[in-house]
Amino acid sequence: MTALLAQTAAEIRMTLRRGETLLLTILIPLGLLIFFSEVAVISTPDAHRVDFLAPGIMSLAVLSTSLVALSISTGFERSYGVLKRLRTTPLPMRTFIAAKILSILVTELIQIVAIVTVAVLLGWNPHTSAASLALVVLSLILASAACAGIGLFLAGRLAAEVNLAAANGLYLLLLLGSGMVIPTTSLPGPFSAISHVIPSGALSDLLHRSTTGRPLTVIDLVSLALWAVAAPLLAVRTFRVE
């Protein structure tokens, strides 16, 4: 327990001190939320743009922290031999991963609080009920696990520089193709269908539906649950510390 707490505290400290992570996880999501809410660049299915954007930006927060920031930092830890050295200590890999997950959840909590606060100031009025809140929390946790699995899979297989490019490329692709800031109804037919079977698209749809009181689609939840199990398993099976 001492090792887990110490490692988690160290991970959180390093995350919060990393300027590029703060840009990726806080400033870009908040900037996109404010800009697209206030400037009529996109047409959204909801009456108020912020009603569409707030849940989308919450999805983006998960994507940026659990996938991109985690993948890049872990890729460089691998490249700099940090993971190789840790492999020679009694710290179990599961404790190390647990510390990373806890630090991700803390970062996401900070992100969600900041996004909700700014969104409410911009006029967001989400549908709230115990069921919708539970669904939001469940979706965020499943998506975090799925994105972390994908991020760790990339970090554990690719060279740090290649991983950096891949994670950023994926970020841009998923940002545009998951219904976070651009409604999937605006995308060409196949892209709209695909968005439900990728974790960020499924998360966006689930958050949109639960915060606007619309009924859920089972495919989103099933897809997200499958990713949440399969991606971490794939990462664990394929991860290399060298």
């Binding site: 110490a6 160290a10 001190r17 700099y80 031999g81 190789k84 050295r85 492999r87 020679t88 200590t89």
Partner: protein, 283 residues
């Protein structure tokens, strides 16, 4: 140990007792680091048995790591962390860690204890990694080129610490390219080349010689016949070891020829033994 179709290490075998230092020597690419990382359980051997503390390092890494301290060539630390912070964090992984302050002091890291890892020199990084390897009070210490990139003062600190740890009863396995360092700290030596052991044994056995070697300041080939039992090779005169009569005759003969003696040795240097072994291997 195979990597695809390439056999990196084959037929490397050694045993070590507590309180001894085993040095693995060999040219670049000989398989030294692969041997150490296999010993630490980084990869499953294609054939053969690897045990540390009687445990399987691949199947029981946590138990093996709790008893072993390792300093790997390309092991690293988070760039923003200082030696003080990473030592404190790493101490939390162990049940009974050694005092971090004591290690910082012993490894002369006090002046850089609060400096981020990315700003440390090569030698300071090596000393920090050694401190991390020693934190868990390991029974076995594995050091892959511990003095590589370290300045002479830093080397002295590290070598003195290795001797101290040996005196505390730790079994130490190290690799180095510094043959004089190996000669100073080793009890056992294992020379490997192309993934195979080509020579191993105790340092005293390997460097033992049946001849005495007298090094001089002149070429001896033009001086005529040396005393009975002796032979000249360049500036060196060889003869039977532990033979006081030969030694007396040889030194008298050299003095008569007005040749100055520079050194007298009845054992081979590790360097000459090592080079001879590698030459034999390449033939």
């Amino acid at each position: 140990m195979d990597f695809g179709n390439t056999t990196a290490v084959h037929d490397v075998s050694f045993e070590l007792t507590f309180g001894e230092v085993l040095t693995i020597l060999g040219p670049n690419g000989a398989g030294k680091t692969t041997s150490l990382t296999t010993l630490l359980g980084f990869r499953r051997p294609t054939a053969g048995l690897v045990e540390l503390h009687g445990l399987n390092p691949v199947a029981q890494p946590a138990q093996v790591n709790a008893l072993t301290g390792a300093m790997l060539q390309d092991g690293g630390v988070w760039a923003p962390m200082t030696p003080e912070q990473v030592i404190s964090l790493t101490a939390s992984y162990y049940r009974h860690p050694r005092s971090g302050a004591d290690l910082i002091d012993r490894l002369a890291l006090g002046s850089v204890a609060a400096t981020p890892w990315r700003r440390l020199s090569g030698g300071e990084k090596q000393r920090t990694l050694l401190a991390l390897a020693l934190l868990g009070q390991p029974r076995v210490l594995i050091l892959d080129e511990p003095t590589s990139g370290v300045d002479p003062e830093g080397r002295d600190v590290i070598r003195a610490l290795i001797q101290e740890e040996k005196a505390l009863g730790r079994a130490i396995v190290l690799t180095t390219h510094e043959l004089d360092e190996a000669e100073r700290v080793s009890d056992q030596v294992c020379v490997i080349a192309r993934g195979r052991t080509i020579m191993s044994g105790s340092l005293s056995d390997l460097t033992h010689s049946t001849e005495v070697e007298i090094c001089t300041d002149r070429d001896l080939s033009s001086l005529g016949d040396p005393p009975r039992g002796g032979r000249c090779e360049g500036r060196n005169l060889f003869g039977p070891a532990h033979d006081a009569d030969f030694l007396a005759a040889a030194t008298a003969w050299l003095a008569q020829q007005q040749v100055n003696v520079q050194s007298i040795s009845s054992r081979h240097s590790l360097e000459s033994v090592y080079r001879h072994a590698l030459e034999g291997e390449s033939r």
